[in-house]
Amino acid sequence: MAALTKRSKVVSNKKMSFWEKIYLPAILGGMWITLGHLFAKKTTVRYPEVTREFSDIYRGKHVLKRDDEGRERCTACGLCAVACPAEAITMIAAERKPGEENLYREEKYASTYEINMLRCIFCGLCEEACPKEAIFLTKEIVKADYERDKFVYGKDVLLEPFDPLKRIDVSKRQTPEVLEFKKDKNQRHNVQ
């Protein structure tokens, strides 16, 4: 039978030779290997001083995006909740009142929007499902906590800050095709 891998070895029960029996060459060989590790590059990252570099498309804590004028993009359509395989997302929809046009982009918005971070598997399907580009996953990680109910993140945590300088850049998460598509103003979707 052909070997499945290049590393497979034929095992035999043949008697050990004299040099194998006294073990010393094997021990010295082993010590040579460990000596190599003594001078090898260490894999440890000295955490609080140095943090490990995250990829731009890392799937961490979610963000609810605002549009360029600072209005919430989410319309509480519920597609993210449907797409979520872990059923981590819940929301309650509400109707925009007159005078709230500067807060919410469309007539319907999410009055509460909660993600249970203990259920979430950070697959990013909510991001894919969202037709309004309202939800994205970010490089930020979900921090540890002492109590379970603190892991249900509401809009107070998830919503992007209003301040234009503190906006979270998600353009790196989008493929060139998507960025190209967004320039097409014939799509109502792309009109601010």
Binding site: M31, T34, H37, A40, K41, K42, T44
Partner: protein
């Protein structure tokens, strides 16, 4: 006489302090080297490069709960670690730490006691070391501790035989049991290891077994015996047991350097034209470097080889090392006779 007494007191304190500090920092170096061998960094949070780690460990041990099983024999329970620690510190008395120094025209020897049976003294003290472990294991009144102690004592007794036999060749060559004589016969590069490589190898392996170091750390084999003879010990009593292991490592390194690697001798340092005291200091540094080298070997082997099984340990001791040591004695005897 008075100045000699003062000098000996200072020397004894210095040696004791040296072995304690070295043992203290061996724990840090051990953990550092363990880290490096496993591609980690090792402890580096307490002070720069983790230099305060041994201090932190010591404070931790002192503040831990002093637990004593209520079925334990109280006197023996305390005697165990005390004896182990005492024995560990006693051995350093006959090791020559350097050549003589001169203060105000008076010559002082950098050796606590030039006993003319220095080697016998070392073996006598090392054999008592078994009692510390055996008493501790017995007094704990715990089956794991007892099994660990029994293992430790049978291991130490078995390996002492091969160890003594490998030393006999050195005694045959030098014709003296005094450590100072043996060192002085290894001037320059005339070290015993070149004449007795087999003896050195046997002695090295036995030193691993005598100090209960890996790969012969069966007495405290965590996987089977929950810590072995010190299962029931906590706080500084446990600290004494662990600490004495490091002192033993330091002292056995010193003994090996003295017997096989020429002690404080090194080629060409006597030709530098240094004053006697500077010469003594450099010689001491040479000895210390050799001891450090052995300390590194101890740690290196620990993180390379897996632990022996008990029957393998006994087979190696009785069926390999002792016959080899006897053969070595025979060959040495024949060569000495032929050279006469």
């Amino acid at each position: 006489m008075g100045t000699m007494l003062i000098f000996k007191t200072i020397l004894a304190s210095a040696i004791l302090l040296l072995s304690l500090v070295v043992a203290m920092y061996s724990t840090l170096i051990e953990r550092k080297i363990a880290g490096f061998f496993q591609d980690r960094l090792g402890p580096n949070r307490a002070g720069p490069w983790g230099l305060l780690q041994p201090l932190a460990d010591g404070i931790k041990l002192f503040f831990k709960e002093e637990f004593m099983p209520n079925t334990a024999d109280k006197f023996l329970y305390i005697l165990g670690p005390s004896l182990t620690m005492l024995i560990a510190c006693l051995t350093s008395a006959v090791i020559p730490w350097g050549p003589d120094i001169v203060i105000n025209g008076q010559v002082f020897s950098l050796q606590m006691a030039d006993v003319n049976i220095g080697i016998l003294y070392i073996f006598a003290i090392v054999s008592i070391g078994v009692y510390g472990i055996m008493i501790g294991g017995w007094a704990s009144n715990n089956k794991y501790a007892l099994l660990g102690a029994v293992r430790a004592s049978s291991q130490m007794i078995s390996y002492e035989l091969a160890m003594s036999l490998s030393i006999i060749t050195i005694v045959m060559m030098s014709g003296s049991l005094s450590m100072r004589d043996i060192v002085n016969q290894q001037q320059g590069f005339n070290w015993n290891i070149w004449y007795q490589p087999l003896g050195f190898l046997i002695f090295l392996i036995c030193a691993f077994a005598e100090t209960n170091r890996s790969p012969f750390d069966l007495p405290e084999c965590e996987t089977e015996l929950v810590g072995g003879y010190h299962t029931e010990y906590s706080s500084m009593k446990l600290g004494f047991y662990l600490f004495s292991e490091y002192i033993n490592m330091f002292i056995s390194g010193a003994v090996m350097a003295t017997l096989f690697l020429g002690g404080y001798h090194f080629p060409f340092i006597d030709k530098l034209g240094l004053s006697p005291n500077a010469f003594a200091f450099v010689s001491f540094l040479v000895l210390f470097a050799k001891i450090t080298f052995f300390g590194f070997i101890f740690m290196w082997v620990r993180w390379t080889l897996p632990r022996f099984r008990y029957d393998q340990l006994m087979r190696l001791g009785w069926k390999a090392l002792i016959p080899l040591a006897i053969l070595n004695v025979l060959i040495t005897g024949v060569v000495i006779l032929l050279n006469q």
